[in-house]
Amino acid sequence: MKPPRFAYAAPESLEEALELLKEHGSEAKVLAGGQSLMPMLNLRLLKPAILVDINRLPGRDRIDEAEGMLRVGLLVRHRQAERSPLVRQSLPLLAEAVRQIGHPQIRNRGTLCGSVAHADPAAELPAVLAALGGQVVLRSAGGRRVLPADQFFLGFLTTALEPEEVVEELRLPVAPPRTGAAFLEFSRRAGDFALVGVAAQLAFDAAGRIAAAGLALTGVGGTPFKAASAEALLRGQAPSARLFAEAAERVREEVDPEADIHASAEYRRHLAQVLTRRALEAAWRRAGLEAA
């Protein structure tokens, strides 16, 4: 279990890193936390000519908030986001999702931008981005572009990221007041990739109705599943167990998961329904408006 031979560069600046990517194109792979890349190298599923190690780039590990968006920098580790008071306060959904990524050892090294760039169909963060309508900032030597989640995730381990680009930043809208959120996932064993995961966020208006609903699932297809019609069903409605059950039923009808050795398609569909209902109920409960 040794990686194939590769060249290695450890640039000291983002500009230098982007120049290397420009030079090597699809022959290069970016090494950040390495939590997906290193196993793939060791299993020889990938044979890049060069690894561009970006871990030395200065000042790229910031989480901040600007213009109503939480911004997560290139080298922010999962553990950092998990422990960040800012994340907990302004985007509880992200905090809860990050906590469920792998194990502490993985979260200590893995980066949020790296996970999004890798786009594993069972990963947590793509679903959070999809649920919230987040943005992915892509950077190359030639400039910067900002893509909404639904234009970034294209298929199984496939994104709009060009070989000379890195995911420079994630932007996620800060949760408005009167919001509740839940990230629930099901796996046979704690810390494993989820069979199905659900990101749900409900914002309520002054009358206690659902002003905005963000709902997306992971593990049910090549890309995160944005449950748009369930969101539409929820919007403007008074929350109730029945409403959530109806939304969950709609999700069950619309997802089209595949079978693998861990679960059948039908079971995943069933989990999508159960977890959606539970996540919506939890989000409602956490908004603290049940009495209203």
């Binding site: 704690a190 810390g191 059948s264 159960v274």
Partner: protein, 748 residues
Amino acid sequence: MSSAEPSFQVIGRSQPRLDGPEKLRGSARYVADLHPAGLLHARLVLSPHAHARVRRIDTSGAVRAPGVVAVLTAADLEPTGLLAEGEVFYAGHPVAVVVAESEALAEDAAELVEVAYEPLPAVLDPEEAMRPGAPLVRELPEEHASQAMAAHGAAAGGARDEPRPRNASDVVRFRRGDVEAGFAQADAVIEATYRAAAVHQGHIETHGVVAEAAPDGSLTIWTSTQGSFDTRQGTAGTLGLEEHRIRVVPMTVGGAFGGKFLLLEPLAAAVARRLGRPVRLVLDRVQDFLVSRPSPAAVIHLKMGARRDGSLTALQARLVFDSGAEPGSPVGIAALLLGGTYRVANLDIAGYEVLTHKSPAGAYRGPGAPQAYFALESHMDRLARRLELDPLDFRLRNAVREGDPRPDGRPWPRLGLVECLERLRDHPLWKERPAGPDEGWGMAVGGWPGGLEPAAAGCRLDPDGTLTVQVGAVDITGSATSLAMIAAEVFGLAPDRVRVVNRDTDSSPFGGSAGGSKTVYTVGPAVQRAAEDARRQVLELAAERLEAAPEDLELRDGRVSVRGVPSRSVTLAELARLSTRFGSRYAPIHGHGRVAQRSSSPGFAVHLARVRVDRETGEVRVTGFLAVQDVGRAINPAEVAGQIRGGVAQGIGRTLLEQLVWDDAGQLLDANLADYRLPTGDDVPRIEAELVEVPAPDGPFGAKGVGEPPAIPVAAALANAVEAAVGVRLNEIPFRPEALLEAMKRAG
């Protein structure tokens, strides 16, 4: 839990493992840590096909790759059968070995070996393989008794002259009385089929070996093994060498559980002999899954009858064990235990070992027993439920006692099944069985007959006043600490004043393999005798020095003194120095002990488990666990409890999580530790270990083997708990959440 008796100073008092510090600090040396000068690295090329003819192996590209020293196929080695010869019988069957100056270069070059295969029909399901007209898996070798099974004491008797169905490599049949008459007498007869998946032993250290040949062709083999003498014998037999020409050095074992018996050693040795340089062959995780010997899948069809008064009337069973591409499954022991745990007058058990095109099966912690008891103990609960009997009383009524016949007709030696059941019956957890919503409790029995193998030991007094105990048994469980405690007890020393060493097969007294729950049971008495012998020598020498009769002397805290006259004394260190210096007139202190017990020590356990079921997802979580086990005598209670907890954890893994999955073409789909789910701390609850002590007549201080039993009853305990929680039962391990959902839906 303390079993310390006033008469013992060391035995029964919990003591940290002597091997703990080096393992915790990371300073223990494993095979993969060895780097002798001139070391070469070997990498196996494995068959991607479950069954194929090997048309051609083109090694030319690999030979030219950087750092490559040799690329060898079957014909290049002596003997030739160490790699596939012309035909492969499972995906993972080694066809070539690439040897290079580094591990990475060997792996690079292995990708360049081009093998032309002609795929042949593969038979993957044992029941299909048994049908007339099914493709023949392979010509059966003449002799196929499994060394590993024998090492576990898992070789069972029983008639073996039964007709063999197609692809069956072994048939075992046990009969007693008339089962039809027995079923006719029953008030309830239940029949069901149980399935257990193949699982890997889950040792974290993969298989690994370093072999070096001397110019005269004799060999040194450093290996991660459960048995150094077994490895020496197996390698010598395979290579056609006399045993004394092979020195096996057993290294620290990073997990074994039945999986670390002779596997790669002959191949590595043959390569080292051929190339004249030391060769290291350490499997990576994927190859370990493909090449090592998993615990076999089993299908057990069971029919049992009982009367309303709780007496069993008949037991009929058919077992099919999927042995993979080579014979060596534990179907015989499974059949023996299935019919040997309860008193039943009428028995008919047929066990079939069937070959398929999958990785050959091997031993795993109580080989055959977890499969057998999953069926038996699920069935016992069903019968109790049907007859409205208390499940514990029902078992107690039928449990075998000393002298009862096993299915092979031999009487059970002393065993503690009844005592374990009684202990559970009196335990507050059984009486109360507190359960929240969707929770339920289940109990189950499991047992292991216990292995036997002769052993010898040496006990030397060193000039620093410590004892060096020499044994030939490998320590895979902390057994060396128990052996040290046995010698320490005899000498009245603290256990950390005793070193237990097992250097290599050249210098160690004989000891059997660490398997079959027999290391402390068989090597312990040899150590005890060796220590007693050394003690006698010490007292004789001291008597001469102190001018007193040996019977007037006492040995305590490293000092021999005349009873009642403490000033007349001499230390162990002084006696050792006296007898190990130039010109001394005293012979050195060196005790010997050897033993060949005739009576095994069956180890029985009774488990009580609580589960919580998520009715919407089908998830089962274990929320409480009590393991009651007869251990004869707990020499080191903390260690015994630790072994019990480890066994239960493995049982939980096998019941809820673990499964080797092959696709329709015979490809193993979860040959990694991400997809193959070993339990983690989160999956295992606090496990309470309750030790019952029914002394074994031939065991050291009454101790019996404790390693295997705790892994055995778990599956049935959990299945019974699931039924208690949600009213439905699963007949297949591992439990699939989907299957439980389906069952609940069917039950309404």
